[in-house]
């Protein structure tokens, strides 16, 4: 109990994962304090999404531990970790495409509140759930699309639904995997504005390729190269680090071919 007041929101220690002979994560350490704004950068194939999968429990680590508020959750399955306050968004949309935006968010609300265990309808309790989901959508300026099936929504709006689902879990730790990926640059500011105005209590880890966004948003940055953390520091330190410039920033000119 006392630990949870002082422990970081998320701590990973010595996390490693091999696929056969291929090490996709090597002894990764990372700490996210409460309210952290932490960016994870690195070249393609560095293992950034793998790390998110290890933290959320999609993948089991070969070694190392994941601590949430000081509690070891390494042995817990994905859903149990989600219920303890880890939420994520996906690099490629993972939505309930045939359902409306509102129903999408309601599913997440129902899981968090435990309503999803209820096997009978209840007008009063369903209304509370819907109101909460609508409030969530309103905060993201999605309320107007509440009754539109997700598959009929433009891609940029779908990316916002990704975030809405994660936020509906009321997470303490939020992992954003390239939230603006695939969105036309004219619309990406909508998503980045949402990211910038997230609840300051939530610890956020963001994977992002756009360096402007990273340096504007993050208070700390980790650079992941070939499955290992090459360096970690403040944006100023990272910007000044010649190794980072060499492996990552140096190639940014030809990254988007």
């Amino acid at each position: 109990m006392i630990a949870s007041m002082t422990a970081p929101a998320l701590e990973i220690r010595g996390l490693a994962r091999n696929f056969g002979a291929l090490a996709v994560a090597r002894h990764i350490d990372l700490v996210l304090e409460r309210g952290a704004r932490h960016a994870l950068i690195g070249p393609n194939g560095a293992g950034k999404t793998t790390l998110v999968n290890l933290i959320t429990g999609v993948l089991k680590p070969s070694a190392g531990r994941v601590l949430l508020d000081g509690d070891d959750v390494t042995g817990l399955p994905q859903a149990a970790r989600a219920r303890r306050g880890i939420a994520r968004t996906f690099q490629i949309n993972q939505l309930f495409r045939g359902l409306t935006v509102l129903e999408n968010v309601c599913l997440a609300v129902a899981e968090r509140t435990g309503a999803a265990r209820r096997m009978f309808p209840s007008v009063r309790r369903d209304a509370a759930m819907i109101d909460e989901a609508l409030a969530q959508l309103d905060g993201l300026r999605l309320a107007g699309d509440a009754l539109v099936p997700v598959r009929e929504l433009p891609y940029g709006r779908q990316r916002l639904v990704e975030i809405a689902l994660a936020l509906a879990q009321r997470p303490r730790v939020l992992l954003l995997d390239e939230p603006a990926a695939g969105v036309p640059s004219a619309e990406s500011h909508l998503i980045l504005d949402v990211v910038a105005s997230l609840d300051p209590d939530i610890a956020v880890l963001i994977i992002e390729h756009d360096m402007d966004v990273v340096f504007r948003f993050a208070r700390r940055i980790s650079v992941l190269v070939a499955g290992a953390v090459m360096t970690e520091g403040t944006p100023e330190e990272i910007r000044a680090d010649p190794r980072v410039r060499a492996v990552y920033l140096g190639e940014s000119g030809d990254r988007h071919g």
Binding site: Q78, A79, A82, Q94, E111, A116, A127, A143
Partner: protein
């Protein structure tokens, strides 16, 4: 101004979601038809109760296949367990009271569903298909091996059951059987309906639409599927028990592949994930079977084959899907 827009949206949204749960006038139609059939076809009531039994069986499949998206080819296992539960109780233990028989059948089939589901539901695709198919054949072999209890392939003929509620005796014209089956179907429909419009039921749809996301928003997917599978198995067991009650016999052919496939075809014909697809699918399937099989069984089998192929290629949402599409067109092509 924006505020009034949002209030309007909120009100619409609440009505929209409540509409899932609210009874629509069209939902009375199947029941009106079923009651009307009782008066219009007094000499076809035995056939009528078979239709109702299959509608219940298809409804049970809709819960797992249509809502939760579990692809099974072995649902006849639970139908058979239900049928043999009341059959054996009546034939071997002289337990002939029908309503407690239904409960016993639901319990046995539900238990079998939970037990097999713990293992089976961890699999998907071909493996799940093969495992569900095999389970059914194992039960059939099991019944065959213990033929001194089960009657083997001859089954349990000439079962007799006590009057329903101690009052209504099974008559020669099938009137009691029909009304009894209709009442049980109605109760089971109400139960299934409550489940699918509940948050639990919506979470099953979520699992069907995107299992990975359900895991990541914290849903205990395996547990949810297991509950759904157990409830569905229990309902299939009730259908099997009704089958035994209304026919007064059971044979091992309840475990045939044709039974598992037949109920699947009914559900597909009617439309999956719509509850009432099970009802209309069973009606159309059974009536077609009844009229085509008169010419020859092969004729009927060809008919089912063609129907399936045409449905899959051109009317994947089934009869109810076609009706819905026609309704939308009539209202002026809006969404």
């Amino acid at each position: 101004m924006a505020a009034t827009d949002e209030i309007a949206v909120a009100a619409r949204a609440r009505r929209f979601l409540a509409a899932h749960a609210r009874l629509r006038p069209t939902e009375a139609l199947p029941w009106l038809v079923a009651v009307a059939a009782f008066f219009v076809f007094p000499d076809r009531l035995t056939f009528g109760s078979q239709v109702l039994v299959m509608a219940l069986f298809a409804l049970s499949l809709d819960l797992v296949l249509g809502y939760a998206g579990i692809l099974t080819l072995g649902h006849a296992a639970f139908f058979g367990i239900g049928a043999y539960t009341v059959g054996l109780l009546a034939a071997r233990l002289d337990w002939t009271e029908p309503l407690t028989g239904l409960l016993a059948a639901a319990t046995c089939a539900g238990f079998a569903g939970a037990l097999s589901g713990v293992v089976l539901l961890r699999y998907r695709g071909l493996t799940l298909l093969v495992l569900t198919l095999s389970t059914t054949f194992i039960l059939q072999e099991f019944g065959n091996v213990f033929d001194r209890v089960t009657g083997g392939y001859d089954g349990l003929p000439g079962l007799s059951f006590s009057p329903v509620l101690g009052v209504f005796d099974y008559d020669l014209f099938g009137r009691t059987a029909y009304l009894y089956a209709l009442a049980v179907l109605f109760v089971c429909f109400c139960l299934a309906r409550a489940i699918v419009v509940s948050p639990f039921g919506r979470s099953l749809v979520g699992i069907r639409e995107n299992t990975a996301r359900m895991h990541s928003i914290g849903a205990p997917v395996h547990g949810r599927l297991l509950v759904a599978y157990t409830v569905s198995a229990a309902l299939a067991g009730v259908a099997g028990a009704l089958h035994a009650h209304t026919n007064a016999f059971v044979t091992l052919s309840v475990f045939d592949f044709e039974n598992s496939a037949g109920v699947l075809v009914m559900l597909i014909l009617g439309g999956t994930g719509r509850l009432y697809g099970a009802f209309w699918g069973a009606v159309v399937y059974m009536v077609l079977q009844d009229s085509l099989a008169k010419f020859s069984p092969a004729f009927w089998q060809a008919g089912v084959g063609l129907l399936l192929i045409v449905t899959v290629l051109f009317a994947r949402a089934g009869i109810l899907g076609l009706v819905e599409a026609a309704g939308r067109r009539l209202r002026g092509g809006g969404p």
